[in-house]
């Protein structure tokens, strides 16, 4: 079966971002970009399905500016077969991204679509679920285990109190949680080979997708800074402070 993986180019997770002085957003000039960590897990899961002989082709897709080609190449180096960039230079909301992905799903007819559970920039946690609604496919979000058997996929999900297992009819959508797998590193020969793998570029217009949004960002601010604390010298002093100064115990 064909597996489609959606990925996103985001600020590297180790970078401590700074808010722009005019409050228009976060300063992304000259900041290291990378594949969203949850998307890496999604690519890894698809590649493992291929290695098990379950997936026949792994297609990776992203929606974003041309710079995102770099992340598609990374995914290709990790084992994806083919890539599609839906090129859009404005920052799109989850619904617009889900609509673009729906158009790609209609074209490619994958049996399984894997996404990360959330992107670490917008922290939305929406796109996979929205794609589920648009395609009418079942969804297995926050997956920590995925087992394909016949025309069904069994997904173990991380929920607030523990784990839940659901069985979904294929085609289905899975969003990855951190513990689904440990992504591999791309080897140098694979990075070289990835340069030759096919990468198509399309536009939302060509896919017939509207990117209109009902939400706009008015401003972006830094969170309130915490007051600097103090270092205590002993456990006794700590207990005394918590009882008499902070009065929390």
């Amino acid at each position: 079966m064909k597996v489609l993986v959606a990925v996103k180019r985001v600020v590297d997770f180790n970078v401590k971002v700074r808010v722009k002085a005019d409050h228009s957003g976060v300063d992304l000039a000259n900041v290291k970009m990378a594949l969203n960590p949850f998307c890496e897990i999604a690519v890894e899961e698809a590649v493992r399905l291929k290695e098990q002989g379950i997936a026949s082709e792994v297609l990776v897709v992203t929606v974003g500016a041309s710079g995102a080609q770099e992340q598609l190449r990374t995914a290709l180096a990790l084992g994806a077969d083919r890539a599609i960039l839906v090129e859009s230079f404005e920052e799109l909301n989850s619904l617009a991204v889900a609509k673009a992905l729906k158009a790609v799903v209609d074209q490619e007819q994958p049996q399984l679509v894997i996404l990360g559970k959330q992107a670490i920039d917008s922290d939305n946690n929406q796109t996979g679920q929205m794609l589920g609604a648009l395609t009418g496919y079942a969804q297995g979000t926050f997956a920590s285990k995925v087992e394909v058997a016949g025309d069904k996929v069994k997904v173990t999900r991380e929920i607030d109190g523990g784990l839940q297992t659901v069985a979904l009819a294929l085609p289905a959508i899975v969003t990855t949680d951190l513990r689904l797998n440990e992504p591999r590193y791309a080897s140098l020969p694979n990075i070289m080979k990835a340069k030759k793998k096919p990468l198509d570029v399309v536009t939302p217009d060509a896919l017939g997708v509207s990117t209109a949004s009902t939400v706009k960002t008015l401003k972006v601010e830094a969170p309130a800074a915490r007051q600097a604390g103090i270092k205590v010298k002993s456990v006794a002093e700590l207990v005394e402070k918590l009882k008499n100064e902070a009065k929390v115990i």
Partner: protein, 309 residues
């Protein structure tokens, strides 16, 4: 203008997260209706009717909604939601699971994890693991929103007397089925609702050493959390994880033991009122957010702390 709040419940009982979400709804204004979708959810519906400020409770009681599978509940919520100005759900794993599906069915953008209501169409939400706060405005006909429960006080669970009304609509997409669940058992308070949280990180070295934290937590009536490092190393189950990808907590007191304080962990706890860090590395970033820091070996400091309480 009326607001529809989707209840978080276990059929037999209403979850506390629903109360925080009702408070967010009160800040938006208008009538507040609560939807309880489940199977045999009479008790949860009765509890919802008693919440102060709620004027109506809708109950969709059907086998199709037993485990709130998103394929089944999202069409129900979207259908009911058309009659409301806002649809709110707590940002629990459950709320996050079905609400974006509802938004897409209504063809509107969703706003995730709001921490403040500025007006009926303007909200604040954290982005970049809480390192920036965005103010966003929605022009959608139905505003679909998840609520970060630690951003709002709990509404009074008693004092209301809302009418309970059954909803006849049944949607069963037949595409998904509940197979089973494995819930972690704990006698301690729930992590997201606890007044005091004691968390351990990689510095705990192994799962057995968490007994020191459990002993301390029991003395304090606290919940026990963990950093991702402790979960990944298999010390504790993943539902104890505090952080960007785990649970968001904002207790009165947060005690971080053997936790370095990575950005992703801070995203889950930096709104705590008082933060205490116990770490032997005085350069650890956790000390930058801690109100009280103790540079010490946790295996000496934690038992001593327990003894002094």
């Amino acid at each position: 203008m009326a607001v529809l709040v989707i209840a978080e419940h276990s059929n037999a009982a209403l979850a506390a997260a629903t109360l925080n979400t009702v408070t967010a709804a009160q800040k938006i204004g208008g009538d507040i209706h609560v939807l309880v979708a489940g199977q045999g959810a009479g008790a949860a519906a009765e509890a919802a009717a008693k919440i102060a400020g709620v004027s109506k409770v809708l109950v969709a009681d059907n086998a199709a909604y037993a485990h709130q599978l998103p394929e089944n509940v999202a069409p129900l919520i979207a259908e009911l939601g058309k009659g409301y100005s806002h649809v709110l759900a707590p940002a629990t794993t459950n709320g996050k699971n079905f609400l974006p599906r509802v938004a897409a069915l209504l063809d509107v953008d969703q706003i995730s994890e709001i921490i403040a209501v500025e007006s009926a169409d303007t909200f604040k939400r954290p982005i970049y693991a809480g390192n920036a706060i965005a103010t966003v405005q929605s022009s959608a006909a139905v505003k679909v929103i998840t609520v970060r429960t630690t951003g709002f006080d709990a509404a009074a669970a008693e004092g209301g007397s809302a009418a309970v009304e059954a909803v006849g609509t049944v949607s069963d997409a037949g595409k998904s089925a509940f197979v089973g669940e494995e819930l972690a058992k704990s006698d301690r308070p729930e992590l997201t609702a606890a007044k005091i949280v004691v968390s351990g990180g990689r510095g705990m070295q192994n799962g057995d050493n968490f007994k020191h934290l459990y002993a301390l937590a029991d003395k304090l009536g606290a919940a026990v959390g963990a950093s991702r490092a402790a979960v990944d190393a298999g010390f504790v189950p993943n539902d104890m994880q505090v952080g960007q990808t785990g649970k968001i907590v904002a207790p009165q007191l947060y005690i971080a033991v053997g936790i370095s304080g990575a950005i992703q962990h801070l995203a889950g706890m930096k709104d705590s009122k008082v933060i205490v860090a116990i770490n032997k590395d005085e350069e650890a970033p956790i000390f930058q957010v801690a109100d009280y820091g103790l540079v010490a070996d946790l295996f000496e400091a934690v038992p001593e702390l327990e003894k002094l309480l």
